[in-house]
Symmetry: D3
Subunit: 109 residues, 6 copies
């Protein structure tokens, strides 16, 4: 679907997508920390698609379960009970990622 | 003002404030990372008082200017131009903190 | 799913869930009024899972149809037309609850 | 300022303002409960002007301090720590109202 | 479902629905511009049902693809990457409308 | 203040600011329509600084009072009474712009 958006010929949308990708690249802050920032921002803004995306990226950045749940807790405290259904779905996504059973993605507490 | 809220005798509010404080304590994630999570969450939710609070905490956790601006960039990209006035005020708060000129808080790029 | 979150061993998340449950207990304000507060908050923040939860609780607290629609109206006026799809789903949930046909939950106008 | 808006000659805006006023009138739910609904909705949506307005209306509806703080607690739990600065300002407004020292508005715990 | 809401006998909700319909009627601003305003408002507030509704209305008002994508771009820039999943779904809805192949609704770049 | 942000050396933030400026340039949609889109988006997201900015730009694009109030009405209906304080401030900003009494910006109903 992103391909269709990018195929629209709207150059500015393409540039926005490029900025979005580059915001999480290694820099003064590590990619891991930036993905956690993206995850918490997505949780408090309550966007399930964005949450799924950042859970996957965080798993790839070797975020441990304990780290995930502390980030979930910050989201809950900042965003309130209204974020609970989204935290629940984040946990489901995390479980699915862990079950893919790639050794380097396996549970790290 | 928090004292007045806490003096209200509402135990659950006191417990909520306690959870709020503890969410940023050192754990699987460092206090520094957690304060950055709090800062980005406050920026995308556009709460100036919360932003001021987390800028100060981040300065105390020795977050460098380059790290701050990468966190601001993640907030801008996730939250859009609607966050610009809040990023602007975050930069003002940061400048004020840096000017207090405590050596251990001074500019770190 | 809440069980999985609670099983994560993150004590603060467990405490947050506990605060969430206790916020709606009978006190200076009745449980019925508190559930209505939770329903309207969920509607203006537009969280369907939370709306479903509070519709069920309100039905259990014997909220009448006329009371429900006045609460929906406050939500519409405060939150605007953007809440209409959520009010619509709240009405669907309410109808399902009423159809369960438990005498003590039946329609009260 | 509302007068200027109403003087604009835009009939639909006038009708919206009329709906806004009538949403809190006595009905199946009491004005007191409706004002509490308006207060909590304003708190979780974090609008200080709306909070001030509904605090005043709630005081006029004889909402007690204990009732206010339970409503604040529901707002905090649903809306998270991002609502704390707004709860703080709501408490300030409430104190100002109580100090006006009209006997029928005085503290009722 | 709207019929059920309207059948509830709550006059104020009926009046709100009426105001909602009339807000997009031809006036000093054309219906086309007003539908674009409704579309962008729905995108930055991230309500998929509202987006679908306004995409259809915009297609009926002969909004061209280039105009749609410029409105999507404004939404992206104002609302940030959190709106991307909603822009994606708006593009899907737009494609479905174009495929209905009514000559007067066909692609206009 | 924007100068300070731009002076931070963070290239991506500079690119975001550039995208923000270009989103309102004349294209398939006129600058006037795009500024109205920006105004309504700012109103429903309730950002006073953004509202002030777009009111000024709309005045420069020769938006008439009747057009302004129809855009305010769309914002009110979509965003609800929670936007009233922001509409009020938008009207104040508009009056200030009109009083600057530049003939080409003067009231056009």
């Amino acid at each position: 679907m992103n391909r269709k958006i990018l195929a629209s010929g709207n150059l500015q949308i393409q540039r926005f997508f490029n900025l979005d990708t580059r915001a999480y690249e290694e820099g003064a802050l590590s990619s891991k920390v930036k993905e956690l920032l993206g995850l918490v921002a997505s949780l408090v803004l309550r966007c399930d698609d964005c949450i799924t995306y950042h859970v996957i990226c965080c798993v790839e950045e070797a975020v441990s379960d304990a780290e995930f749940f502390e980030a979930f807790n910050v989201s809950l405290v900042v965003g309130g009970s209204i974020t609970i259904p989204h935290v629940r779905r984040a946990v489901e996504r995390l479980e699915e990622c862990r079950k893919l059973n790639k050794p380097h993605l396996s549970k790290r507490t």
